[in-house]
C-alpha cells in the first residue's frame, strides 16, 4: 500500500502546528510541557541508561526530547538522531540544537540508521481524514520500521479506545492496548509490556527484542 498521501497529510498537519505555535509543546500538538514530558518518562522506560546508548526519536518535532534527556539522563552519553516528516519542524529543531553534540536530525518517515532504541511519541494519534484500514497499515508499517532499526527495543504510545457507547473523537485514532501488543509479539517475536495508569488517557507499548540464545 502506498502511504505517500498519509505521510503528506501528517507533514502538512504538523507543519501548520509548528508555524502557528513555534517550538513549544503546542507546536507539536501537546497540551503543555509536563504532559509532553510525562510521555517521555514512560517511553524511555525501554532504555537501559546504565551504559552509553544510541537512540532514534521518530516524529521528533523540534527535538523536545533532548532537553528532557539533558535534565534527567545527563550522566548517560546518548547518540541521538531525530527523524521527522515535516521540513518546517526540522528547521526549528536544527536551529534550536545547532550547538548540541551527538544530536542530528533527518528528514523522513523512518530512521535510516539502526540504534539501540527507538521511541515515537504521539505519532499515531492524529488520523486526520484517513480511513481506518489505511491508518492501521501506516501504523503496522511504522512498527515494522521501528523494529528493524532498533537493536534492543522500541516504544510507542496510543490513545486509549473509548469505552463502549461513547463516541470516538473525530480525526483521532485510538486503540485497545492488546491489539498492537499482539501484533508486535506475533510479527517480531518480541516481548511486549504495556504501561498505563499514569494519568493520561493513553497507554505506552514497550517492545523488546528477545535475547539471542
Amino acid at each position: 500500500m502506498d502511504l505517500t498521501a498519509v505521510h503528506t497529510g501528517i507533514s502538512d498537519y504538523y507543519t501548520a502546528k509548528i508555524r502557528k505555535f513555534g517550538a513549544t509543546p503546542l507546536g507539536v500538538d501537546w497540551t503543555c510541557l509536563p504532559t509532553q514530558e510525562l510521555r517521555f518518562v514512560q517511553l524511555l522506560k525501554v532504555c537501559d541508561f546504565t551504559s552509553p546508548l544510541s537512540l532514534n526519536d521518530l516524529g521528533c518535532g523540534y527535538g523536545a526530547l533532548l532537553s528532557y534527556l539533558d535534565r534527567r539522563h545527563a550522566g548517560c552519553p546518548i547518540d541521538y538522531v531525530g527523524v521527522d516528516i515535516s521540513q518546517a519542524m526540522l528547521r526549528r529543531a536544527r536551529r534550536l540544537w545547532r550547538n548540541r553534540r551527538n544530536a542530528s536530525f533527518i528528514h523522513g518517515h523512518a530512521s535510516p540508521r539502526p540504534a539501540d532504541y527507538s521511541i515515537a511519541s504521539g505519532i499515531f494519534n492524529v488520523q486526520l481524514g484517513q480511513p481506518p484500514d489505511v491508518w492501521e497499515r501506516f501504523i503496522a508499517t511504522t512498527l515494522d520500521q521501528l523494529h528493524r532499526t532498533s537493536r534492543r527495543g522500541f516504544s510507542v504510545n496510543f490513545m486509549r479506545a473509548p469505552t463502549a457507547g461513547t463516541p470516538e473523537r473525530k480525526g483521532l485514532y485510538s486503540a485497545e492496548p492488546e491489539q498492537w501488543a499482539r501484533y508486535c509479539a506475533a510479527q517480531f517475536g518480541a516481548t511486549t509490556e504495556m504501561l498505563d495508569g499514569y494519568g493520561l488517557r493513553e497507554f505506552t507499548l514497550i517492545v523488546r527484542r528477545r535475547p539471542v540464545s
Binding site: T31, P34, M159, T163
Partner: protein, 162 residues
C-alpha cells in the same frame, strides 16, 4: 485586581475555567472526547515533576501547565501578572496549598473562583479545604478564591468653561 487585567478582565472567567477543567474530578468514563484527564492527570504530573512546591509560586506552575490559554498572549501575560501580585504572597500560598493537597491520598479536585476584594478584610486569597463550592455537584474540593475588584474607569476630563 482589575488593574492588572485591564480590558482583558472579560477573560477572567475563562482563566478560572481553564484551571477548573484541568483540576476537575476525573471523568469516570474513558471518553476520548474528554481532552484533559482531570485531577488524575495533574496528580500524575505532580508525582513525576513536583510542579507545585514551596519553592515555586503558583504563577510559574500555571504558565508551565498552559493555564493562561493559547489564543491571546496579552491576556495570558496579564493573568499571570495578576497571580504574581496577589496580596499577602497569595501566589505562593496557592502553590503551598496545592502541594499539601497532592500529598494527600487521594488529593481533592480543586476549584478556583473569585470574591469581592472591596469587602473589608477580603483582599486576600481564601483557601478552603474539603469545600463544596458547587451546589449541583456532590463533590468535595479544595477551593481557592482570588480577590478581585473592578478596574477603575479613567477619570473623565472636565469640560472647559466657556
Amino acid at each position: 485586581m482589575g488593574a492588572f487585567m485591564k480590558e482583558d478582565d472579560i477573560y477572567i472567567g475563562t482563566f478560572l475555567d481553564l484551571f477548573n477543567i484541568r483540576f476537575a474530578p476525573t471523568p469516570s468514563s474513558a471518553d476520548a472526547m474528554t481532552v484533559f484527564g482531570g485531577i488524575d492527570e495533574i496528580t500524575a504530573l505532580q508525582g513525576e515533576f513536583g510542579i507545585f512546591s514551596s519553592k515555586r509560586p503558583f504563577s510559574a506552575s500555571a504558565a508551565l501547565l498552559g493555564l493562561g490559554g493559547i489564543h491571546k498572549a496579552l491576556a495570558k501575560n496579564r493573568w499571570l501578572e495578576l497571580l504574581r501580585n496577589l496580596p499577602d504572597n497569595g501566589d505562593q500560598q496557592i502553590a503551598d496549598a496545592l502541594a499539601a493537597n497532592f500529598r494527600k491520598k487521594p488529593p481533592l479536585p480543586c476549584y478556583m473562583r473569585a470574591h469581592d476584594a472591596r469587602i473589608k478584610g477580603e483582599n486576600r486569597v481564601i483557601i478552603i479545604e474539603s469545600d463544596a463550592p458547587l451546589f449541583y455537584l456532590e463533590q468535595k474540593y479544595l477551593t481557592i478564591s482570588l480577590p478581585m475588584a473592578p478596574r477603575r474607569q479613567p477619570a473623565k476630563k472636565k469640560a472647559k468653561k466657556k
